[in-house]
Subunit: 119 residues, 2 copies
Amino acid sequence: MDEKANLAEKLALLDAPYSPAIVGYLNDYKLQIVKVLGEFVWHTHNETDDFFLVLSGRLTIQLRDRDIVLGPGEVFVVPRGVEHCPKADEETHVLLIEPRETRNTGDVESELTVEPADL
Amino acid sequence: MDEKANLAEKLALLDAPYSPAIVGYLNDYKLQIVKVLGEFVWHTHNETDDFFLVLSGRLTIQLRDRDIVLGPGEVFVVPRGVEHCPKADEETHVLLIEPRETRNTGDVESELTVEPADL
């Protein structure tokens, strides 16, 4: 990384919810920001854990047996192999960290499947 | 991770600056919080990049050719092999992410070399 990334400034460049963008890399991991609004899609990453940090708003990570509700400054790591579905009732800003090759919808092919933009 | 981590609440459990604590793991990476105050020690991680996210306060990451100054919500990744020395003039709270086996002082053995606590 040559320059720092101000996450709020980078988030202001994003339009639609669930369109992640890469702000940097940590070894073979991508650092992504994403706006969350509404419900995503149930999916599983069988090959990796999945890191979520809420920057603003309120994120619910639905698991099959319970919900994890995150406010600003709260972190949750979904363990590999655990099915989950994020949702938010208000626009919520999230930092995601996962290996570079990780697909946003995991094992599911969906209209929400996208490649992240590179900011 | 079984439960979410509220980073501010976890930071309130820490006493001294430069005594990192682990709040969770992402695959083979540790998620660490640390209070920064004063100057750390110049060091290099030859085997890994080093992720810094400022949660509160103001962190200066000194590099040999320039300073990176981070406020809340700002991220910088020190590339592997790049000598650096963090410092802060006020108490600053940071999220650090690096491989589990990474030593806090990198290639340098120092009185600041510590194993992180496990919260």
